[in-house]
């Protein structure tokens, strides 16, 4: 999947010589460089490069939000590092050709695809958490519904025993009814607790958006 997108980038921009996809901790996910190159060191240095520029920003008291790209041009070869996802980056090494500008827009959609594939951001993680909790709430509500139906059934049974329509132990049925009501109270409390947790997670996402 990622390979395909690299191939597409290279065919859309033939001047791209090599591609390195790396995480901010220096781990290289995939690269077109051969294994003779010291790849872990390459990833480490590329990651350090970004950190150094961030330090320069901090020294100059500029606000460092999220970097978008970093360009380093020389006579023959140029490097452009683009931010992919939350913690991933892509470095494109390309041949410098006269009178020709690199059209990054041509590869934007491939880069977006790669980002989706290799780096899940924190918001996505919270979304997953919300889904899990919503599933749990759904399950609890189903259980609550079942208990309510059973309360109704046991309630009728109790009434029938009291009215002498059917035979049975009133004490036992009343106790069962009490137990069921207690379980319902507990279920309602759990549902409420989980709903608060969901609301808190949603609030967290909202805050990160702002």
């Amino acid at each position: 999947m990622v390979f395909k997108n690299i191939a597409r980038i290279k065919s859309a921009l033939p001047e791209v010589l090599h591609v390195v996809m790396f995480y901010s901790n220096g781990t290289v996910f995939q690269t077109t460089f051969e294994q003779e190159i010291n790849i872990p060191k390459l990833g480490e240095n590329l990651a350090e490069l970004i950190n150094h520029i961030k330090s320069v920003y901090e020294l100059c008291k500029f606000k460092v939000d999220v970097y978008k790209k970093l360009i380093f041009e020389t006579e023959d070869i140029s490097v452009i590092i683009l931010k992919l996802g939350e913690d991933s980056n892509i470095a494109l090494f390309f041949k410098k050709e006269e009178e020709k500008e690199l059209k990054l827009t041509a590869i934007k959609r491939y880069i977006t695809k790669i980002e989706e594939l290799i780096d899940m951001d924190e918001k996505e993680l919270i979304f997953q958490d919300i889904l899990v909790r919503e599933e749990e709430v759904k399950h609890l509500k189903e259980e609550l519904q079942k208990k309510k139906e059973k309360i109704e059934k046991v309630g009728n049974e109790c009434k029938n025993i009291e009215e002498g329509i059917i035979e049975g132990d009133v004490k036992k049925v009343t106790k069962e009814l009490g137990d069921l009501e207690l379980e319902c109270v507990n279920l309602n409390r759990d549902i409420e607790k989980k709903s608060i947790e969901i609301a808190q997670l949603k609030e967290k996402i909202e805050k990160s958006r702002k």
Binding site: M1, V2, F3, Y23, S24, N25, T27, V28, F29, Q30, T31, Q35, N38, I39, P40, K41, G43, G85, E86, D87, S88, L117, I118, D119, M120, E122, E124, L125, Q128, D129, V132
Partner: protein
């Protein structure tokens, strides 16, 4: 003597407090404490400078057993040798390669992934120290979680807890082990057979506990699995030649430590020799390797050697040893259990290196009351307690796990870490207690073990075949307990 005891004990406690509160670098604090101890021993107790040399490197061997003695020097040589070997293996990407290769084997099955993550952690920490293990494994776990589109928290938490189990597999796995085995003259294989195998059994039982705890939480999307397949494992290896050389050297090191008894060549000399040969054949820059030796740790150890030596000379360690002995009465089993729990709870809030150093003479005092054949049990118990107790609180090395997770934008909850670490460590020490009961009080141990197995069996049968009402109550109790621990 009383004044000396008060000053040296105060010095030891001050060093501990400075380290816990992070007010002063640990090497500087311990060296400063060592200088004060020197003044006390020389000017109050009337010793000459040779006592300091003896405390730094250990006493010379007695004529009857020339292979004993200089225990501190032997420990230092093993630590330096291991640091060199591990540094080269780390540079070569050996551990990262093994980890990624094994993770790819999981094929995205969540439980298999948890098993592999945990096994890799234990395997790496059996060779590296805990700090280096988490530095390698935590960022790697987060990277893999990004690729797989999963929440790394359960994996990070379980790995952080299991790092300490790896530390008791071999005698060279952690600094406390090195200090204990060189002092008590315990062979590499002897330690593995008595402590290492036990640690592996406890690891398997802990893993079962984790699977039970996290089973419902673990999910891996199919797309992530496909992307993980494209992760080239060789991207973590600097160069293949260096990689193979470091693997071979590790294999040779383990083989020699097993084959050669320390009465012929001591483990430290074997380790240092392998490290030096490795530096020569890999043609790496020796300056670079030497500069990466953790001198802070070495200076810290030297300082601790002197302070604890001072406590030994003034008789403080004997008092602690005799107190535990008295608490345990004349019961060998009770003494071992007390030492196990005592060392575990002490090392939960204090760095386990000084604790081990203080408790070694304590264990030695205690072991004098038993036959030489069972003497080592005290040291095994100390090794288990001092290494595992670390996880009872998220302090010390565990803070690093939290920092690494945060640096990689996947912060973990301090509360979850504390709950999981505390419960798991008590569970692990309880397993060892059951084991010792089984060994020393076979009947009581058998009843205890049968009761545990019976409870587990009943729980399983209720869950499988029990009436719906009981089953649902049982499940609700189980899931509530689970939630209390993991959320």
């Amino acid at each position: 003597m009383i004044i000396s005891i008060i000053i040296i004990l105060g010095c030891f406690l001050a060093v501990i407090i400075l380290i816990i509160t992070n007010k002063l670098n640990r090497a500087i604090s311990s060296l400063f404490g060592a200088v004060i101890t020197y003044f006390v021993l020389v000017f109050i107790e009337g010793f000459d400078f040779s006592v300091i040399v003896e405390l730094l490197f250990g006493s010379p061997p007695p004529p009857s057993s020339p292979f004993e003695g200089f225990v501190n020097l032997h420990s230092l040589i093993i630590i330096i040798g291991m640091m060199m070997i591990v540094q080269i293996a780390h540079e070569a990407g050996t551990f990262q390669f093994i980890a990624v290769k094994l993770i790819k084997f999981s094929r995205g099955k969540p439980t298999v992934l948890l098993i592999i993550f945990c096994t890799v952690t234990v395997f790496i920490s059996a060779i590296l120290n805990n700090i280096l293990t988490v530095i390698i494994i935590i960022p790697l776990t987060i990277t893999v979680s990004r690729i797989l589109n999963i929440n790394p928290s359960p994996y990070i938490l379980t790995q952080a807890v299991l790092v300490n189990i790896g530390g008791t597999i071999f005698s060279i796995s952690s600094i406390p082990n090195i200090l204990i085995t060189t002092f008590a003259n315990i062979e590499f294989l002897e330690f593995f057979l008595n402590v290492g195998i036990l640690s592996l059994i406890v690891f398997i039982l802990t893993l079962c506990f984790f699977i039970l705890l996290y089973k419902g939480e673990l999910k891996v999307p199919e797309e992530g699995v496909q992307v993980l397949k494209e992760f080239n494992v060789w991207n973590v290896v600097q160069n293949k030649r260096l990689f193979y050389q470091s693997i071979i050297s590790l294999i040779i090191l383990f083989a020699l430590l097993i084959i050669i008894p320390s009465t012929i060549i001591s483990s430290d000399i074997i380790t240092l020799a392998i490290a030096l040969i490795l530096i020569i054949i890999t043609r790496l820059d020796p300056k670079n390797i030497i500069s990466k030796i953790d001198f802070e740790l070495i200076f810290y150890l030297l300082g601790i050697f002197i302070i604890v030596g001072g406590l030994e000379i003034t008789g403080v360690t004997d008092v602690i040893g005799n107190s535990i002995l008295n608490l345990g009465g004349n019961n060998f089993y009770l003494q071992i259990i007390l030492l196990l729990w005592f060392s575990a709870y002490l090392s939960s809030c204090i760095d386990n290196i000084p604790i081990t150093k203080v408790l070694i003479p304590v264990a030695d005092t205690m072991s004098l009351s038993v036959s030489p054949s069972t003497r080592s049990q005290f040291f095994y118990s100390l090794a288990l307690g001092a290494n595992w107790g670390d996880n009872l609180t998220p302090l010390g090395d565990n803070i690093l796990v939290g920092n690494l997770a945060e640096q990689n934008k996947r912060p973990i909850s301090f509360k979850s870490f504390f709950k999981l670490g505390f419960i798991t460590t008590n569970y692990q020490i309880a397993i060892i207690t059951t084991y010792y009961t089984l060994i020393f009080y076979t009947q009581v141990g058998f009843i205890l073990l049968s009761t545990i197995i019976f409870i587990i069996l009943i729980a399983y049968l209720i869950n499988k075949f029990g009436p719906t009402k009981i089953k649902s109550r049982f499940n609700s109790f189980f899931s509530k307990s689970r939630e209390i621990i993991i959320r």
